[in-house]
């Protein structure tokens, strides 16, 4: 059992938890992920590490309430426990030697873009952060991003905060203006990462996307998390989760990510009915 040391709602559907897991905290690096189960009957949920405190021995996770399993997780209280917490999994994001990088995050993906931006900043790299959200009430981690970025761009789809538009607008302008980056690192919805990759491709700037496909074991056994990269089958849990964004077959990944949409919708409905009953 792993204790939930701290729990905080970042916006109506995004939750932050600090989980006591000293061995994982000691090893986890930006870009790696953990798998947890809320309770004994729970699904194995893969979540990219949003930060860790090696002194206290905690790992921070930030997750969006999407289906049944994340709903169950969100009901757990500070001081309570998750049944299982395993990691760090996957290969860390390669940041060595990078001097000037654009980090492009979207939605809850910003939670995992932040530790990458922070790690880059800490090694003296000039970080340009571009973050996008649907609207003002969904914005998370703005201050944290500002603290580690030389340049910071806030975008919302509806213009209710920052600039109106998606993350490719400022990115496109920077690139068109002749801005040179060693690398662009993008983490967020698949469709956003696909467009970020398309925006950087003409300039030949190396672009890395952090994939978050459906997973079960997360240790290189089940083969569920396969992604086509440059025509080859790769497994996000051991070969990734970072891949060359110019080579990823995003269209296939988007279709695969929708495999259990119907199941999740049903699970959500069932959970909501349970909540209703409790309220009644």
């Amino acid at each position: 059992m792993f204790e939930i040391v701290r729990k905080e709602a970042l916006n109506p559907t995004v939750m932050r938890m600090d989980i006591k897991a000293p061995l994982v905290a000691k090893k986890a690096k930006a870009g790696q992920f953990v798998i947890l189960r809320a309770d004994e009957r729970g699904e194995r949920i893969p979540l990219t590490v949003a930060g860790c405190d090696r002194e206290v021995g905690t790992v921070t996770i930030i997750f969006q309430i999407v289906g049944g399993a994340t709903m169950t997780l969100a009901t757990l209280k500070e001081g309570g426990c998750v049944a299982d917490f395993v990691g760090p999994l996957g290969t860390p994001t390669h940041i060595e030697g990078l001097k000037k990088v654009a980090v492009v995050g979207g939605g809850v993906g910003c939670a995992i873009a932040l530790p990458v931006a922070r790690a880059l900043h800490e090694q003296g790299c000039e970080v340009t952060s571009i973050v996008g959200f649907r609207s003002r009430d969904l914005v998370i981690l703005e201050d944290e991003f500002r603290a580690v970025s030389k340049h910071f761009y806030m975008m919302t789809d509806d213009g209710s905060y920052g600039e109106k538009g998606n993350v490719c607008v400022p990115l496109g302008k920077l690139l068109a203006g002749g801005e040179q980056f060693d690398e662009v690192i993008t983490i967020g919805p698949l469709v956003m990462m696909k467009f970020v990759a398309a925006a950087t491709k003409p300039y030949g700037i190396k672009t890395v996307a952090s994939m978050n496909p459906i997973m079960i074991d997360g240790t290189g056994m089940c083969g569920c998390c396969r992604v086509t990269v440059g025509g080859e089958m790769k497994f996000a849990c051991v070969d990734g989760p970072d891949f060359d964004a110019h080579l990823i077959d995003f269209d296939e990944a988007m279709k695969r990510s929708r495999t259990y949409v119907e199941f999740e919708a049903k699970a959500r409905e069932k959970h909501c009915n349970l909540f209703k009953k409790e309220v009644e």
Partner: protein, 464 residues
């Protein structure tokens, strides 16, 4: 000495009716009762040269335990098996006895061999049901050994070392111990409660089990040795990433590796109402491959409600690598065999859902390196099968994690860990066995490797 029973046939295994069992996940084989076990045991001739023992990878003293069963001394029979086997209830169920002990049985020359597997299972189940005596903890010898992976190789190695007094810790990546016994082999062939009891038995011997621990990530082999004081390490990390065919459509929705399909179904209990892990409830399923894993996946698909389940295999029935018994069980459960058939493309709709499998007919040519006749495509014989789910059961490559994170550990080109006949690897004090060394094989071979390595580790630590 009891009188021999000269019936040329084994006592049949009581089983659930095929068309009942293919709709539930309860165990197919129900096991002998006491009277049947005694009668079957009387078929053993108690041969002096014990050919059956030579056929057993863990060298169970088969005639000795069977003689005790014939006398109704079931608990004593268990003690004989337990001397050499750590997991008798598992072996009695999943060992390929027909090619091992029973394949060597003298009675098999002029009839059916003694039902050794069925008797082993009976004895193990009898023990579980009747014994309440706590296991005797061996005298600790003060030496620490780490075992990585809690599948059949790891559990056997851990059990044997614990019996010798070693302080053994087993590290398991998943949330429950058992490895392939819990994520791979389905409930209806090996109930998970049985695996749990075997694991509990090891804990009673003093074995510690650390779940949720991916060695190579959270701790490296070097850290286990240098920082945690383990004097030897056994690697039983098992089979790894599934192989695919490299044909078009393998990324489509409704295509699974057998590992994924079985893990969702078995480990995550997706077949149970209330499980949070989803599974596709397909109507027409094609399982590609002919091994035991393919049979397991096909039989799971049927139980999950598929109307039609095909086994698609490129060679003929004689070459099916699955155990004969598994093939028969699958056929009884109305699994349809499409033999001498090889997929060339997975067909999909606009939304990338599987709609069919385009296949080509095959014929057998000259024998290949494996000694089996090589399947050759029949030109112009392509045809389509209508399916909404394809499960690839084509074997696996070893897990890459340990290799990636353990400098100096020699591996084969494909990633299998290099180990000698005693399980010794290229690193001092590091031993390995099971699928991680051999590539995908059987539970009992992994157990044999775990056993051999335990002996080698004991000798290594004694000589230090």
């Amino acid at each position: 000495m009891p009188k021999f029973n000269m019936d040329p046939k084994k006592h049949p295994m009581p089983s659930q009716e095929p068309l009942v069992r293919n709709k539930n996940f309860k165990e197919v084989a129900l096991g002998y009762d006491e009277a049947t076990a005694v009668e079957e045991a009387k078929r053993c001739l108690n041969c002096k040269n014990k050919p059956c023992v030579a056929g057993c990878p863990v060298a169970v003293d088969i005639p000795a335990f069977i003689a005790l069963v014939a006398e109704g001394k079931f608990e004593e029979a268990y003690e004989v098996i337990a001397r050499t086997s750590s997991l008798p209830a598992v072996c009695g169920r999943v060992c390929p006895q027909e090619t091992q002990c029973e394949g060597k049985c003298t009675r098999g020359i002029k009839g059916e061999p003694v039902g050794i597997g069925r008797l082993e299972r009976f004895v193990a189940d009898y023990h579980m049901a009747h014994s309440s005596a706590p296991a005797k903890k061996p005298q600790p010898n003060g030496h620490k050994v780490a075992v990585v992976g809690s599948g059949p190789a790891g559990l056997t190695c851990a059990g044997d070392l614990a019996k010798l007094g070693y302080d053994v810790t087993v590290f398991e990546a998943l949330h429950v111990a058992g490895g392939v016994l819990v994520y791979g082999i389905p409930e209806f062939r090996l109930p998970k409660a049985i695996v749990q009891k075997e694991v509990d038995g090891l804990k009673a011997l003093g074995v510690k089990i650390e779940t949720d621990s991916v060695i190579g990530r959270v701790l490296t082999i070097e850290e286990l040795k240098e920082e945690y004081g383990f004097e030897a390490v056994f690697l039983g990390t098992g089979a790894g990433l599934p192989r695919f065919m490299g044909i078009r459509g393998e990324g489509a929705k409704g295509v699974f590796s057998a590992n994924e399909y079985l893990t969702r179904t078995n480990l995550m209990k997706a077949y149970e109402e209330g499980s949070e892990t989803p599974i596709l409830h397909a109507k027409k399923v094609a399982v590609v491959g002919g091994g035991n894993v393919a049979m397991d996946a096909a039989r799971c698909a049927k139980r999950l409600g598929a109307e039609t389940v095909y086994i698609v295999y490129r060679r003929s029935e004689a070459e099916l690598p699955a155990r004969r018994e598994e093939v028969e069980h699958a056929k009884e459960e109305e699994i349809v065999f499409r033999l001498l058939t090889n997929p060339v493309e997975i067909l999909t709709d606009a939304d990338d859902n599987v709609t069919g499998l385009r296949c080509i007919r095959m014929e057998l040519g000259e024998p290949d390196a494996s000694g089996r006749r090589r399947p050759v495509e029949v030109a112009g014989s392509e045809f389509e099968m209508e399916v909404d789910c394809v499960i690839m059961a084509l074997g696996t490559s070893p897990n890459p994690l340990i290799k990636q994170t353990t400098p100096g550990l020699a591996t084969q080109r494909r990633g299998e860990i290099v180990a000698d006949e005693n399980g010794k690897t290229s690193l001092d004090g590091v031993y390995a066995g099971g699928d991680a060394v051999t590539g995908a094989a059987t539970v009992i071979l992994a157990m044999g490797a775990g056993k051999t390595a335990a002996k080698a580790i004991d000798e290594y630590l004694r000589s230090k």
